[in-house]
């Protein structure tokens, strides 16, 4: 096992180079990639923390929580970054998180009150389509149209679950009717966001479930204004991404420092063009151009995180029944 010895040696070398204590942050995979916010956030935080910030990436938000539950109180993690409002109730139930006093002048469309989790960015779910398309104005019109859509499976992906909550928040008990009408519009259901968005770009559908901020990527990174998001008049469901400190952290003060850092200008200004979401606190410089022409929903929908688990189970059964016919 020469390789192992080598790997161990390199690891020791890296930690020897970095000075100060190590702060371990569990997050989802796309956060740590070189195109994600990870590298810039790490550099900005390490510039004044006299510590070594280490991101550990794993799957998506749900995978993150599953991993944490497996590790339990023995987890090496000090911070978990990347859960969303749908997962908060389940996360709190584990009893692994510590309360926080960090707060900020959030520019969220709703009031944020949570003593455990701190929001760092957010977005609206939306159906993205080609700018030429005459898009429907709500789920009913979509259900009556011949338009083809691709969505994600709520059993394996957070956007998929978001859509479930969206229909439920907008239509309540009438959600099964909406799903029944949408059934013939759904080309297919994918495991995750990447597959769905990829299929849409290959022309497999007219619209795909994504975020209102997705067109900003195409405008800013590709100078391509051909994509836009459909404005739905029943309102758009929100996804708020949060971070929390673990009660078992051995770097309590440093963890608090990082939580506070995530809502400062230095971190928030990184997020729009790396995570392609809205920052939780509007940076002083405002949003980058490309974010100014995005669809702005009239109404922000969000089911309180404590109610999510019960509603999720009911909505999932409705969804399965409607689409399995």
């Amino acid at each position: 096992m020469k390789y192992l010895a080598f790997a161990a040696a390199t690891m020791t070398a890296t930690s020897a180079l970095a000075e100060g204590p190590e702060l371990i942050v569990y997050t989802y995979d796309s956060f740590v990639s070189e195109w994600g916010p990870g590298p810039a956030i790490e550099a900005a935080f390490e510039a004044h923390c006299a510590c070594d910030l280490k991101f550990v990436g794993m799957g998506d938000g749900a995978a993150l929580l599953a991993r944490l539950r497996l590790e339990g109180a023995r987890s090496d993690a000090d911070i978990v970054l990347g859960l969303d409002t749908s997962l908060i109730a389940a996360a709190k139930e584990t009893g692994l998180f510590a309360p926080t006093s960090v707060t900020a002048e959030y520019t969220l469309p709703i009031a944020w009150e949570d003593d455990v989790f701190v929001p760092y960015d957010w977005g609206y779910f939306a159906f993205v389509h080609s700018a030429e398309l005459d898009a429907p104005a709500n789920f009913k019109a979509l259900g009556e149209s011949d338009l083809k859509i691709i969505i994600q499976d709520p059993r394996s992906s957070t956007p998929g679950l978001g859509l479930l909550m969206w229909v439920k928040a907008a239509y309540g008990d009438r959600a099964p009717v909406i799903w029944g009408d949408l059934a013939d519009n759904i080309v297919t259901v994918t495991k995750g966001w990447s597959e769905a968005y990829g299929l849409f770009l290959e022309g497999e559908a007219d619209m795909v479930l994504s975020y209102t901020t997705s067109p900003a990527y195409h405008v800013i990174a590709e100078e391509d204004a051909s994509k836009t998001a459909a404005h739905f008049d029943e309102g758009h469901y929100m996804q708020i991404e949060v971070l929390g400190k673990l009660a078992g952290s051995d770097q309590d003060a440093l963890a608090d420092q990082f939580m506070a850092f995530m809502v400062t200008d230095a971190a928030q200004s990184v997020l729009p063009t790396t995570n392609w979401m809205y920052p939780a606190v509007l940076p002083n410089a405002g949003l980058p151009s490309g974010f100014d022409n995005l669809v702005m929903p009239d109404k922000a929908l969000l089911i309180p995180s404590a109610d999510v688990p019960a509603i999720r189970d009911e909505a999932l059964t409705e969804w399965l029944t409607a689409l399995s016919k």
Binding site: M1, T14, W35, V56, R69, K148, R155, S194, L320
Partner: protein, 518 residues
């Protein structure tokens, strides 16, 4: 009959099999140890089980059924580009699932080539999404594998028999009955079991092409139990169902493998004097062309789509490619260390049922294996520190059934032909392997190594739980590009991955078949 006193690596073989069983059981125990008592299987679970078995059975029958004429055509024809075609046949199978799905959709999708052609002639569109789409995709993945397995079967038929058939001017029908059918009865059941098990654990393909929750497989239910419900009891129960289904099918299929009683040949390279004819030749040509088009067009689509993206790939993609190559190499070594003794052990047993053990690693849900081991390892060492050996082990376990399937039939043949001679000459242990087994098994060892290497290249770090942050593999990097909207660069990475996987496969396969006929 196999001489019962003659055995090859009985201890090492049984040891490897025991290790395999132990590792899978350990994972299951690990998951159960953390499970709370939960409800049994729900109605949707039963629906998922029904769908899974149905699609897997149909996919297996179609893949192997279609592979028989294709392999026969390839076995009796020699043409320019045949060797490249035989290598490319390995490609669909070793592609990462998502890449293959995109390739298939470029051909059969809503705005794919087939529908463009249809609409050019004013014909209505065809939709790939649905049960037929799932089966089509699984045939795309497994037809080439089945073809290669059967083709190997044809090459184990001693050349003298075909020469004799040609001298006696036997008709193709008589050849089929007297020479080919006995060989097929040896090879087909194992191939069926293998394809069935591969399709059993399908998840993303079935969901994406199945068009919705109707196409829910057991693997998806396991994923949901682990990820969204964190219901470990249900996850373990479903994993157990999957193992039982796979094991049951394997035992059932392998029961039908008869013992061979025909004598051996002189180990000559195969030449086919018997198959010259006109109409037959035309049909063979047509079959090969159709199969090649079905398999290669989606691959061509992947390559065409990715060429533009190649320059857009960041340097980290190449670094990831290096990591993947290393994982592949290690996986091949582990696989050989397990597969060779196991094949020797299984081949010298009277009944082939033990081969079912090799299917365990493939039939077990990778999520279950990963989680189970994680639960057991985590209290002792940091799982990330074991990322490389664990990944290599899991890859080797998943590739093992292919290796065993490829190695056992010729191994059995070798034992029958040379077993007594070897005993008389006092050949055993290393010298037996060196002089008798390896020279004759070289093509199969090469093929198995190539398959393992390529599969490991394309594998998405079976278990994210053990992921090593500093050593990202190529498929993971490709996924990250997709997750960051960079679809063009991701398509480029897919081409690189396809190229490297095929390269690894080709080197091993070619190395094995060097100066040997296929």
């Amino acid at each position: 009959m196999v001489d019962r006193t003659f055995q090859v690596t009985p201890r090492a073989g049984a040891g490897a099999a025991a290790l395999l069983v132990g590792l899978v059981l350990a994972a299951l125990v690990g998951v159960f140890s953390r499970a709370e008592v939960g409800a049994g299987l729900s109605a949707p679970d039963w629906a998922a089980i029904r769908f899974t078995v149905l699609q897997a059975a149909l996919s297996a029958v179609l893949s192997v059924g279609l592979a028989i004429p294709v392999a026969r055509a390839l076995a009796r024809r020699r043409f320019v580009g045949r060797e490249i075609l035989v290598t490319l046949l390995g490609a669909p199978f070793i592609l990462p699932v998502i890449v293959a799905v995109f390739g298939l959709l470029a051909v059969f999708g809503r705005s794919g080539w087939v529908n463009s052609l249809l609409s050019a002639f004013g014909l209505p569109d065809v939709s790939i999404y649905g049960f037929h789409g799932v089966v089509l995709a699984h045939v795309f993945f497994n037809l080439p594998l089945a073809t290669r397995l059967l083709l190997q079967g044809w090459t184990t038929i001693p050349a003298e028999r075909f020469r004799l058939a040609a001298q006696l001017r036997l008709s193709p029908r008589v050849i089929a009955r007297t020479i080919e059918r006995p060989m097929l009865s040896q090879v087909v059941p194992g191939a069926l079991a293998l394809v069935f098990v591969i399709c059993l654990t399908s998840f993303a393909v079935a969901l994406t092409l199945g068009g919705g929750p109707r196409a829910t497989t057991v693997e998806l239910a396991i994923y949901q139990a682990f990820h969204f419900d964190f219901d470990l009891g249900r996850a373990a129960l479903l994993s157990l169902v999957q193992l039982v289904l796979a094991g049951g099918m394997a035992v059932l299929a392998l029961r039908f493998v008869p013992e061979i009683t025909v004598g051996g040949g002189l180990d000559r390279p195969l030449r086919r004097w018997d198959a010259k004819g006109g109409l037959q030749r035309l049909m063979d040509g047509l079959l090969i062309t159709l199969a090649a088009a079905f398999l290669l067009l989606p691959l061509a689509a992947v390559v065409l789509r990715g060429l533009n993206g190649l320059p857009e790939m960041p340097g980290s993609v190449y670094l990831a490619a290096g990591n993947s190559l290393m994982v592949a190499l290690l996986s091949v070594l582990v696989m050989l260390a397990l597969a060779l003794p196991m094949a020797g052990w299984i081949a010298t047993r009277a009944k082939g049922g033990m081969e079912a053990i090799s299917l365990l690693g493939l039939a077990a849900s990778p999520l279950m294996i990963g989680t189970g081991w994680f639960v057991l390892i985590n209290p002792l060492v940091s799982p990330a520190a074991l990322a490389l050996p664990v990944t290599a082990m899991v890859n080797a376990m998943m590739a093992l059934p292919f290796a065993i399937r490829v190695l056992v039939p010729p191994m059995r043949e070798i034992m029958q032909q040379y077993g007594r001679l070897s005993v008389t000459l006092g050949l055993h242990g290393r010298s037996l392997w060196r002089w008798v087994i390896v020279p004759r098994l070289r093509p199969q060892i090469g093929f198995a190594a190539g398959l393992t290497g390529a599969l490991s290249m394309g594998d998405l770090g079976v278990i994210a739980l053990f992921a090593d942050q500093d050593r990202v593999t190529l498929p993971l990097q490709m996924y990250r590009l997709m997750g960051a909207y960079r679809m063009d660069a991701a398509a480029g990475a897919a081409v690189l991955l396809l190229g490297l996987s095929l390269g690894v496969f080709w080197i091993c396969d070619k190395g094995g078949r060097w100066r040997a006929e296929t």
